[in-house]
């Protein structure tokens, strides 16, 4: 429809305006991510343009700061642990529920993906009350468990979607040829749904890695994660150090995203 010789000038102008709008929306989406990167190399103490000179001092500051080091370490303890838990539980449930038909399945599915929908502050308040009573407030355990719960719906939905295009005859063939069910799962099903499992795991990782509200409620200062540390930084003392951490995070999450796109391509193609 871009080449439509019968269009009049007004219509052509309309098409042009529409394309300009689309480009503007893309610029809007990218702008806040793009503007933060150069500021991380600023020599100024203010998070603002114009940049008076370039330096790596803010990266130095971040790498030498005990608080940021702790935040990086905590994020890379909590997110992988939560991802592992969410991936195992979500994949098991998805393979079980994929082709089963029983009354109440819709209800069960709604419940299992509810962590995606319930407002995060409700989850944070409830889990704080519950885990504080269990003596687990200010602990890694509580944080990992709740982050895992928030990630499971992503694994469940992604793996379920992958299983919809899965040929069950392969499983029947494997079982019919005498392979035990567990071996069939490990050597036939799992390799075929692996891209879906990995995609779900990446989404679960991103969920935990970017989570701040539950962390604000449940974590003590010694469990502060990166988003938590950034939240405090933006609120109290916003410097280009925030931009330096943001740039590192952009590089990291863009890598994760490209990995996910690659997995998607493999799954569909």
């Amino acid at each position: 429809m871009s080449r439509a010789p019968h269009l009049g000038t007004a219509e052509r102008a309309g098409l042009l305006a529409w394309k300009a709008l689309c480009l503007a929306v893309i610029a809007f989406l990218l702008a806040p991510v793009v503007v933060i990167v150069p500021l991380s190399f600023s020599s100024s103490s203010f998070l603002a343009y114009p940049v008076p000179g370039w330096s790596l001092r803010w990266y130095g500051e971040v790498f030498e700061s005990a608080e940021w080091a702790r935040a990086f370490r905590n994020s890379f303890i909590v997110a992988p642990a939560a991802t592992l838990l969410a991936t195992v539980l979500g994949t098991l449930a998805a393979t079980g529920l994929a082709r089963a038909r029983f009354p109440g399945k819709g209800m069960l599915m709604s419940l299992l993906i509810a962590p995606m929908v319930v407002p995060i502050v409700v989850v944070a308040t409830g889990t704080y009350l519950f885990f504080a009573r269990a003596g687990l407030a200010d602990s890694y355990a509580a944080l990992i468990l709740v982050h895992a719960a928030l990630g499971t719906p992503f694994v469940l939905t992604t793996v379920s979607a992958t299983l919809q295009g899965f040929d069950t005859n392969l499983v029947r063939a494997s079982l019919g040829l005498g392979a035990p069910p567990l071996a069939t799962f490990a050597r036939v099903t799992l390799p075929l749904i692996a891209p879906g499992v990995a995609a779900g795991a990446l989404l679960a990782f991103a969920t935990s890695f970017d989570e701040v509200v539950v962390t604000l409620f449940l974590a003590g200062p010694s469990q502060a994660t990166l988003p938590r540390q950034m939240f405090t930084g933006i609120r109290e003392n916003i410097t280009p150090a925030i931009a330096a951490v943001a740039t590192l995070l952009i590089v990291f999450t863009t890598g994760l995203m490209l990995a996910l796109e690659w997995l998607r391509g493999r799954r569909t193609g």
Partner: protein, 415 residues
């Protein structure tokens, strides 16, 4: 006979398959029960939980039964209160009672703690007087001697009102209602109403953000749908970069853009469009712009997936038959994308309702949503009853909309 046996075997097989499915789903279900459902249950219970007065002052509550607050409290209530307070051994329990009463009647904390200390102090004057007074003489005078504020009926009213183990008061207060002296549900006096306004503000911000996402997302999604698949997936990556970037990174980016010396204001000033920098941050504008940015991918993705299934031939056919392109678009494409519009809008609206971080960082005090009130009551006022009641309201609104979303048919939330 054989058909019957076959049917039986099939039934057994299907039952076995269901059991296997449930066994595989059980670990996740149990895990979510413990880490998610029970905690939310704890929140719901806490919204109506009211143990302090019933536990600490059982005899006083009993003595006040039937008292409506229209006259001075009955004489036995004074003796019962003195007895109940003397029976509290633990400073923490007295403190919990004092805090609970104070949240409904200011001044109650110091009153209860002072009275408790006076009654517990060995051989103190007040203690001796109350203990020594024969029941007939009453405990009224000695209690008033410890603190004359025991003559004010409002403290007694609070004790009487909170005598039951469970209370609807927090939930009522969360929607600006209260029980009057007679126990009937009535509106909160206008100068004390806050939460309905915050609820309306929450719904209003969510609606504005949804509309913003639809206006920006719809044209872009259609453009993506008309592109060849290869190009579309490349452009889609540009949409997904912000989607994957941490919300805090994006909020920091918006602060750089919108602050009074920020890039947007610098651009506007340089272009001569404004004389002085516009206030774009720490107000409603900042909140809506940042939230539209964060939620836009959730609108684009469902729209895009629906639009991919709309054959572009329809539009071409309509245009070639002489329809004006805009008219043709409105009559062919828009009706076919209603499901995508519905799911996208509901999804964005539901997600927007629960926002806390973005308004907290780029909004002003009058731009905070319901989640902020929950966090404020939980972390600052330490009034967990109120926090949980507001959380219950937020949860109820969200679940009603989520039910609607499920009914629309597309269960898949994952991008």
């Amino acid at each position: 006979m054989e058909a019957g046996a076959l049917r039986e075997a099939l039934r057994r097989e299907s039952r076995a398959r269901t059991l296997r499915a449930l066994a595989l789903a059980a670990p996740l279900a149990l895990f979510l029960l413990l880490t998610f459902l029970v905690p939310i249950g704890a929140l719901l219970v806490r919204a109506v939980d009211n143990p302090e007065v019933a536990r600490a002052l059982p005899r006083t509550v009993e003595a006040l039964r039937g008292w409506r607050g229209e006259a001075a409290p009955p004489e036995p209530a004074f003796a019962a209160l003195a007895g109940d307070l003397s029976a509290i051994d633990d400073q923490a329990e007295a403190g919990a009672l004092a805090r609970r009463l104070n949240s409904d009647a200011s001044g109650a904390r110091s009153l209860v703690m002072a009275t408790w200390r006076a009654l517990r102090a060995p051989a103190s004057e007040g203690n001796a007087a109350v203990q020594a007074a024969p029941p007939a003489a009453g405990a009224r005078a000695p209690l008033l001697a410890i603190d004359p504020r025991w003559g004010e009926p409002r403290f007694w009213e609070v004790i009487a009102r909170n005598g039951a183990r469970w209370t609807p008061d927090y939930l009522l207060a969360a929607v600006d209602l209260r029980r009057d002296a007679g126990g009937a549900i009535a509106a909160m006096p206008p100068e004390q109403t806050v939460f309905r306004a915050i609820l309306w503000r929450t719904l209003g911000i969510a609606a504005a953000v949804t509309l913003g996402c639809l206006l920006l997302g719809y044209p872009l999604a259609w453009w993506l749908a008309t592109l060849p698949a290869r190009t579309a997936s490349r452009v889609l990556i540009l949409v997904l970069v912000p989607f994957w970037t941490s919300i805090l990174v994006r909020v920091a980016g918006w602060i750089v853009l919108l602050q009074s010396g920020g890039l947007v204001n610098q651009g506007l000033l340089a272009a001569g469009l404004v004389e002085a920098p516009l206030a774009l941050l720490f107000n409603r504008t900042g909140v809506i712009v940042a939230m539209v940015h964060i939620l836009l991918p959730f609108m684009i993705l469902p729209l895009y997936s629906v639009m991919r299934a709309v054959p572009p031939d329809y539009l071409r056919a309509a245009v070639s038959l002489g329809s004006h392109p805009l008219q043709a678009f409105r009559r062919t494409v828009v009706p076919l994308t209603w499901p995508g519009i519905g799911t996208g809008c509901l999804l964005v609206f539901i997600l927007a309702l629960g926002y806390y971080v973005t308004p907290a960082l780029v909004g002003g005090p009058s731009d905070q949503m319901l989640s902020y009130s929950v966090a404020q009551y939980a972390n600052v006022n330490l009034n967990w009853g109120m926090a949980c009641a507001l959380g219950t309201v937020l949860l109820a609104v969200t679940l009603v909309l989520y039910g609607l979303y499920r009914r629309l048919g597309r269960a898949e939330l994952a991008p």
